[in-house]
Every structure is written in structure tokens, then in C-alpha cells.
Symmetry: C2
Subunit: 193 residues, 2 copies
């Protein structure tokens, strides 16, 4: 954990996802850690903060999430483009050394028995809100955010800093097949006359 990582108040945690970035989903169960990429994740509620994420039945991460009832959504950066793609296109089921090969570095945050991926811009520790029908029918998982952190070089005082930060901190927005967009310029609505 670097000096730059700071906790984010839970009432601001939705802002880490509202702009629609691709996320990394990590989980730990019975001594096994894994991380996958997910393009289909979304904020769901403000208080208590909740999120949704679509996790396919073929993923190895899904069993860890269902087994432990806990997961982390973290926001990878432009600097982690290759890492994100690799974590999203390989499976622990067929490549037991997936994380090492992708050079994914995990770190610890006190009070949370979860694998956090180093180098990301934000982390949301989530407790699974069990909804078996959604999970089985739609691969749709709901999490309640129980802890949130950001790298203050990318997100500070409740706001993304993309317009001031090194472009390498920008979030990734997947479209299809290894094609992403970085988040772009800031826009602010003018007050109505």
C-alpha cells in the first residue's frame, strides 16, 4: 500500500464507478486468489453504496465470490491496459499461474481479507448481497461496498483528477476485442440562465 492511497467516504464511493470504467474483480476463497476483468459493472445505490457486476459462469473468479461472499472491484488505468486485457482473457482454470504471468501484484489492506490489485486508481471492497435468481439467470451480482480507497493522484476529495493527472491514470472503457477508450476531457454544465 503506497503513501498515495487514501480511504474514500462511503457516500462518495459511487463516483468511483459512475463514469462506466472497465473494472478488475478480485476475490479470495480457501487460500485461492484470482482476478478477472469485467466490462459490465455499474453503481446501483448511494447509501448504503451498492454495485452490480456481471460475472460469467465460466469464470474461475465466480466460484471464489460465491464461496467467500466477498470481492473487490478496482479501477485499472491506462498504464494497466495490457494487464487488464490479460486478466480478462486468461482463466485460472486453465492457467494456474495466471496472476504471475500477468505480473499482477496483490496487496493487503488491514481489516479486509481480500486481494487488492496494486497500481489501480480505486478499490471498492464489497460484500456479496446474495440474490440467487439474478446470479443464476443473469450472471448478475450485487455487492454492498464496505470499504473504498483511491490513489489520490487519480481521485481526491471525492473527485476524479483526470484533467490534472498524468494521462496514464485515466480509466479504461472496453468496447470489444482488445479495443478500449480512455476517459477523456472534463465537461461541466453551465448554470441555466
Amino acid at each position: 500500500m503506497t503513501d498515495y492511497i487514501d480511504s474514500v467516504p462511503l457516500e462518495k464511493a459511487y463516483r468511483l464507478l459512475t463514469h462506466g470504467p472497465t473494472v478488475l474483480v478480485s476475490s479470495r476463497h480457501n487460500g485461492v486468489d484470482n482476478v478477472m476483468a469485467a466490462a459490465w459493472s455499474c453503481a446501483l445505490d448511494f447509501a448504503p453504496p451498492k454495485v452490480t457486476v456481471v460475472i460469467d459462469k465460466i469464470t474461475a473468479t465466480r466460484a471464489l465470490v460465491e464461496g467467500s461472499g466477498m470481492f473487490v472491484l478496482q479501477v485499472p488505468t491506462v498504464a494497466q491496459l495490457q494487464l487488464t486485457e490479460q486478466l480478462g482473457t486468461t482463466s485460472l482454470a486453465t492457467e494456474p499461474d495466471k496472476l504471475q504471468r500477468a505480473q499482477a501484484e496483490l496487496f493487503h489492506i488491514d481489516g479486509h481479507d481480500l486481494p487488492f490489485v496494486a497500481g489501480c486508481s480505486a478499490w471498492l471492497a464489497c460484500r456479496l448481497v446474495p440474490e440467487p435468481h439474478n446470479q443464476q439467470t443473469y450472471d448478475l451480482f450485487i455487492g454492498e461496498v464496505v470499504g473504498a480507497w483511491s490513489d489520490t493522484r487519480a481521485f481526491k476529495d471525492g473527485h476524479w483528477q483526470f484533467e490534472h493527472a498524468d494521462p496514464a491514470w485515466r480509466s479504461l472503457h472496453h468496447v470489444a476485442g482488445g479495443h478500449f477508450y480512455a476517459i477523456g476531457e472534463a465537461l461541466t454544465v453551465m448554470p441555466e440562465k
Copy 2:
């Protein structure tokens, strides 16, 4: 409907939302049309294509969606920043002339009795997949995409054209309180060595 609007194959429809844009939700019921902005919308499935969108109980649009079982998700552009903010911060319940005041122009697509918002880059006509528990507990609505269209100046041949198009076509990504980011530069993963 302009010459530039073309249908999008349903198997590519998820790409219109996967990069996480703010959307406009429109619906029609009993002769009433309305449009609201929603930051929390997400792709859910490829085939048949499905989407999620969070629609608060205080919104007037929600009653139209529940009453008609149909809605449109459309992707507004940088050129529609003020329109998007205004549609997201006013309610038909208190401002019956909301759409006129926002200068929202609606248009028709044959075969769909739905209000489509002109000037957007993409439109997804959706049939509500009723899930009363999700709707009541989480304000979470699931739609099956039954038709998709794009303005080919922004999305063509199954791909967003942001890197070639006028920046005014870029999608909006809301963070909080009138602050948005436009989508940014294109990034493509290098093949693994």
C-alpha cells in the same frame, strides 16, 4: 430520422453501452412521453442482448416504463451536454413542459411505438423483463433489446468512431453534480509476444 441513422445488428448492440456512458431513458404510456437521464446503466447479456438501468421511484419516467413495459436507452453526445443535464435534473411531475423547455426533439422509428430522442448517437429499444423484486428493492430494471440503431457518424460497422468523428459526437460519462467526462482516446492492446 436522418439519413445517417442505420440499424445495428442485435449481436453488436451491447457495444453501444459497454464503455459506460450516461444514457437518456425515454418511454411512452397512455399518450404521455418522457425522457430522463440515467448514469447507472449497463450491458447485461449478448444474446439476446439485455441491459440494466437504475430508475429511481421519484422519477416520472418510471411509471411510463412500468405501465408500457417498453423503453428506449439512447446515448447522448457532448453536443447534448446541457440537454442531458436538464433532462436529468427536472421532472415531468413538477414541470409538465419539461421536454419543450429542454428543447428535446423526439422522432419516430417505424414499428416501435416509442419516443426516440433526436441528435443522440445510438438508440436501444427495450422490452422490460419484469423482475418486481429487483425493481422494488434496488430500482433496478432489466430490458431486452429488441431494436438498435446508431448515427453512423458516431458508430458504424459495429464500432464507435470517436477517434475519427467530430468531438461533439463523444459520449458523456457523468460523475456528480453536473460534472462529466467525455470519452477519450482509443487504445488497442498489443498482441502478446
